[in-house]
Amino acid sequence: MKWLRQLGPLLALIVMIVLLSISSPYFFTVDNLLNIFRQSSVNALLALGQLLVIITAGIDLSVGSILGLCAVAVALSLKAGWSIIVSIFICLLVGAFVGWLNGAMLTKMKLPHPFISTLATMNVARGLALIISGGFPISDLPASYRIWGASSVSIIPVPVIIVVVVYFIFHIFLTKTISGRDIYAIGGNKVAAYYSGIPTDRRLVVVYMLSGLLAGLAAIILTGRMNSGFPLAGMGAELDSIAAVIIGGASFFGGVGTVWGTLVGALLMGVLRNGLNLLDVSAYWQTVVIGAVIVWAVYMDVLRQRVMKKKRS
């Protein structure tokens, strides 16, 4: 029955693609599909970090703000004339640092729940982004930088390549390494994980750092694509990332979730938005539909667990 958890969202994605292909002639074209993938790449990277956090039974509300802060940071560095490598490094460092703060507040200061610590950094990071940018977007970035967000290798957009590579790396990390397994153990039962000799605090800090780092990576793609570091970038993106993770079959209570499920979740949201656009459905309705999909996806899981429970007893 375990595979059902994976299959549910994938089936939904396929059904959605088939339906949209029938209703709109523009939908099922290589161009449009790649376009969806590219549009989903920022959310996919944020959702990947969010997935790690949610597997540990936590939540990271700060990813959208980290994205904004990193976007401003990388744009300012480029404007200051630093090289692309250095600017990217600064961007990732800022993301990882805010993530580390989240982890430290949770494990060192022992704040009671990551909802609180990341709510705080969500505000702080957004505020800092506005302060250092003066509230204005920082535009006209070097063309050689913009390849990260805007260009393609033959027909495949660079952000898509980045997402696939990063997802693959994290798949390996979660399934093939000790640290990855420890993360599942912490989410499944933190006390038991600690009693098993797993360095729970250290792992949690790493998880929040990775979440911040991925938000930094998303900022590079976004600034490249927009040709601008916008201090309000990623407003509300944390909720989209949570939605992708949940649609992708991860348990909000921790211990369960896969990288591929999350990718399907992120793509599903992208397909919905794109498809509804093509069908001329107002953007206001799109959020209504996404809300409904969240309920549907989680309800499927509730039903699945009910069936399993019956079988067990």
């Binding site: 000790i178 599942y184 039962n189 000799g197 211990g255």
Partner: protein, 507 residues
């Protein structure tokens, strides 16, 4: 109240879990319901309180046929159950918990705290259990919480109270107190159904006994008509030869280095100046009442808690253990007292659980897992421990209590620890599985492990240990070799009447 369950049958997805079971509870009697885990006791009780419905069979209350539509119907008829996992809300007061879901109101519609308080106090007076009704439940001991549950049942005018393993979290002394209350209740004509694995208690307090095995009704009879042997045979369907393994001849400890030596271990309000050693090949029992500081001591040795003062040496070397991770690296393993909370990841597979503590044993230096080796290890453990399961990928939560405990033990064995601390290893598991665990402990000791057994069951301490230390209020109050130990001597030390002249380490 007279309650009769007649020819109750129930199956889940084609599996017959109860087959024409009959049980006849008479007014004011304590009726023990006995059977191994999976015998169908819980299902039968769930049917009685209306949580489940029977496929066939009838329930008669005072000779009237009843059909429960919801648990409320059963409760209104005067049937209440005190659950093994206490169902109280810790942040609310005793009063609120007793009246949970049916708080009394004045005519104005406001809550009538005065009336509720006086009713609660009256109930506690009747069962002669002094308790401050305004305390919040989280401040109470487990024994007190249990009485709050019983008070809740009584406040609903329960005439039949079902107690499911009520003494498993209690120390002997609290258990004795509970028995007194049960006698009081039965004098007041309240019927009790008492579910337990501890047979000696059945003979102490029950009037009648009903035995189930694999969903089959085996017998009901007055307790005076059977002896322990018969009951055990009926439960497990075979003669239980010896519950405990033979002790093997031991090398005298003083000739060898101690595997683990604890000196002057102190942690404020938990334990004070504790000294002892345990040697390879022996089982050291630590006896005492709940709250004597045994679990705290075990967890401090394992690095869950830090010592304020004192020193731990492992195989003659000073060990700095400030986390469970460090303890595992030094070769210490803890099988914790609460397997659901501290032992297992319940919704992960058995395979996951067996390997979750191995750290880098089955991994390359950079942390790359060697999954083939993990599976080999799981298979070896499942064979060695005779864990009954359908597949390696089955969730740990789906196993019986005894098999869950074996997984928790297997998890620790998989870390190759040679010093093993078992904290209440047989809590809440059935007789057959207990015996397997006793034999396993002895086998591990014979293979050279140093074993510390913390247990509140004296029988188990006496039957299994080579040497016993007794704790009372955070101190070691005595040490005794198994050959000289009796229940009375240990109880005296455990309640602090008898201070051993040798206070602390002897070897």
């Amino acid at each position: 109240m007279h309650v009769e369950l007649k020819n109750i049958s129930k199956s889940y997805t084609g599996n017959l879990v109860l087959n024409k079971v009959t049980m006849n509870v008479k007014p004011g009697q304590v009726h023990a319901l006995i059977g191994e885990n999976g015998a169908g006791k819980s299902t039968l009780m769930k049917i009685l309180i209306g949580v489940e419905t029977a496929d066939h069979g009838d329930i008669f209350v005072n000779r009237k046929n009843k059909k429960w539509r919801t648990p409320h119907d059963a409760r209104d008829a005067g049937i209440a159950m005190v659950f093994q996992e206490l169902s109280l809300i810790p942040t609310l007061s005793v009063i609120e918990n007793v009246f949970l879901g049916r708080l009394l109101r004045k005519q104005s519609g406001l809550l009538d705290w005065h009336e509720m308080k006086s009713q609660v106090e009256k109930i506690f007076e009747e069962i002669e259990f002094p308790l401050d009704a305004e305390q919040t439940v989280e401040e109470l001991s487990i024994a007190q919480k249990q009485m709050v549950e019983i008070a809740r049942a009584l406040s609903q005018n329960a005439r039949l109270i079902i107690l499911d393993e009520p003494t498993s979290p209690l120390a002997e002394r609290d258990a004795e107190r509970l028995f007194k209350r049960i006698k009081k209740l039965s004098e007041k004509n309240v019927s009790i159904i008492y579910i337990t694995h501890r047979l000696e208690q059945v003979f102490k307090i029950a009037h009648l006994i009903t035995i189930l095995r694999d969903g089959e009704f085996i017998r009901t009879c007055p307790v005076s008509d059977v002896d322990m042997q018969t009951v055990v045979r009926d439960m497990v369907g075979r003669e239980l030869s010896e519950q405990f393994p033979d002790r093997t001849q031991k090398v005298n400890g003083s000739s060898k280095k101690a595997a683990l030596r604890v000196e002057g271990a102190t942690r404020s309000n938990e334990f004070n100046n504790v000294n002892f050693s345990v040697y390879n090949g022996e089982i050291l029992g630590i006896a005492g009442l709940v709250g004597a500081g045994r679990t705290e001591l075990a967890e401090a040795i394992f690095g869950v808690r830090r010592l304020d003062q004192g020193m731990v040496t492992v195989q003659g070397k000073i060990a700095k253990i400030n986390s469970p991770a460090a303890a595992v690296k030094t070769g210490i393993g803890l099988i914790a007292d609460d397997r659901k909370l501290k032992g297992l990841v319940p919704d992960a597979s058995v395979h996951f659980n067996l390997n979750v503590a191995t750290q880098r044993k089955f991994a390359t230096r950079c942390g790359w897992r060697l999954q083939g080796q993990e599976i080999e290890a799981s298979k070896r453990l499942i064979d060695g421990l005779q864990i009954k399961l359908q597949s390696l990928q089955q969730n740990a939560a789906g196993l019986s209590g005894g098999n869950q405990q074996k997984v928790a033990i297997g998890k620790t064995l998989n870390t190759d620890s040679s010093i093993l601390i078992f904290d209440e290893p047989t809590r809440g598991i059935d007789v057959g599985a207990k015996r397997e665990i006793y034999f396993l402990l002895r086998k591990l000791a014979d293979e050279g492990a140093a074993i510390i057994l913390v247990s509140s069951e004296l029988e188990e301490i006496l039957g299994l240990s080579d040497r016993i230390i007794v704790m009372c209020q955070g101190r070691i109050t005595g040490e005794i070799v198994a050959a000289n130990a009796t229940q009375e001597k240990i109880m005296e030390m455990a309640v602090g009447i008898y201070e051993s002249t040798k206070n602390g380490v002897t070897a």
